[in-house]
Amino acid sequence: MSYFAEKDFFEDDQLIQLVTSILEGNLTLEWYRVDTPRLRAQPADIRRGLTYDDCNIGAYGYDAIPEFLRNRYSMASRGSALVEKLPDLGYTINRRSDVWADGVAALYEEAKARRWAPAVDVPWKDLATERPPLREAAMAQACTLLEEVALVAMEMPGRWVFSINQEFLELKSFLCAQMIDEARHVEVCRKRALVSGHGLGRASVAAEQALKELLSAETYPEASVAANLLLGSFALAMYRGLAALADNRGDRLLATLSMQDVARSVAYGVAHVRYHLDHQPARRGALSEYLDRTEHTVLGIAGSPEFLEPLVLLAAGSRDAAALARGAAFARRWFGRAVDEYLERCAAAGLGDRRARSVLPRLARTLAG
């Protein structure tokens, strides 16, 4: 253990005397006289129940969190009465605009309200019948790569959540919901590959190196831009591609339900960057430079042969030349649209028009021929 309580409680005569006294009926009631605001949270909409937005009241609400947390580093509930000697948990991310996003509490509520279970919400029996081998092989490979993506997207919040001050409890809860979302994507992609009969496909060295680069971001704002805005935008496009090319209800649901989850991460990513830059405009240059050197990773992931070829094959439907040409045309349009949407999100987040400085539009044009 690296931390020990200041007393050995078993040897603490004072504590034992106090407990003995209480158990003799002499209650202290010190906690009852605590001077915290007497406020009552109430559901604004009974159909939604009592949400975190409803609990955004007075000193207990997230609106009351200051930009800099200077004296709250323990595990005390936000708004509770602080006493002396509360242990410092060693949080290193204590600035609100480094993590916060408007609407993050609502995104957390949505993550729970729209939860789904791959085991029962995907009609696996639709996929149990004899299916075209080429399509099944392509789906198994695409899902193998998407499982790699989801594993990293699951680990990213896990790397940071312990370092973030728990005054940001709604945000930390959202990061935990992201982990559950991504665990679900790991599960659904793995199950889809295994139900194909082809088993899992090939791991992608390009994708894995790219994903490791994203996972290795050195600050939380960079990590959030990397995972939520950049990777999230292209993961959303990848699932949308699979949804568009699905020839059965199971694959369509797999992709659209996953899109619904990833869209929350993208929404958080955009809102987080916007909030971050509104409060720390000098960081715009640093985040833009980070994207300049990091955007190449999407080519390693979405453009890896382990994803792109299955996408082309799913769009083609067969391996004859004419069909493959149609499939390739679909993939070029798909990539161009994914780049456009990502750049639009960057602009919406306050990163300005990146078309001139980003390598991605040029790449998309080159691919389009």
């Binding site: 309580a5 007393k7 409680f9 407990v19 209480i22 158990l23 003799e24 009926g25 209650l27 906690w31």
Partner: protein, 141 residues
């Protein structure tokens, strides 16, 4: 310990809403306990040499549990809720119920450890010794 704490919370809850809240929390905590037990059993089965290390860890962890469980911020609300009031007779009844709960909580913890393959924990645990004292106090009451 926390699982039994939530079960006790459900038992003493004054409203159906509170009871449901704690019941649902218990459902989640029970999964954690289930995982923890299976994991500890697996570790002891595969790495029996770690037994002593785990005992040392529990020596310290049980100290935290004792300090946390007997904090006035926990103990007194439980006494009031289980006794259903602040009158002398309510408080006496609350103390009797809370004491019984704490005995049960600690016994269940040691039963789980025994099921995981650590039945000898009772003999070396100071928490168990405290439990024996608590039982004596209950018997005397």
């Amino acid at each position: 310990m926390v699982l039994t704490l939530f079960r006790f919370s459900e038992y003493i809850s004054p409203t159906e809403g509170d009871k449901k809240l704690f019941r649902l929390v218990m459902q989640d905590e029970a999964r954690h306990v289930g995982y923890g037990m299976q994991h500890l059993k697996w570790v002891l089965d595969h790495f029996p040499e770690k037994r002593e290390l785990i005992h040392h860890h529990l020596d310290e962890a049980e100290n935290f549990v004792f300090g946390g469980g007997y904090a006035t911020e926990v103990l007194e609300p439980f006494i009031i809720l289980s006794g259903k009031g602040l009158k002398k007779e309510n408080v006496q009844e609350g103390i009797r119920i809370t004491n019984a709960f704490q005995v049960k909580q600690t016994e269940e913890y040691f039963e789980r450890l025994a099921k995981c393959g650590m039945p000898e924990r009772r003999e070396r645990s100071r928490l168990w010794k405290m439990l024996e004292l608590n039982k004596d106090a209950l018997g005397a009451a």
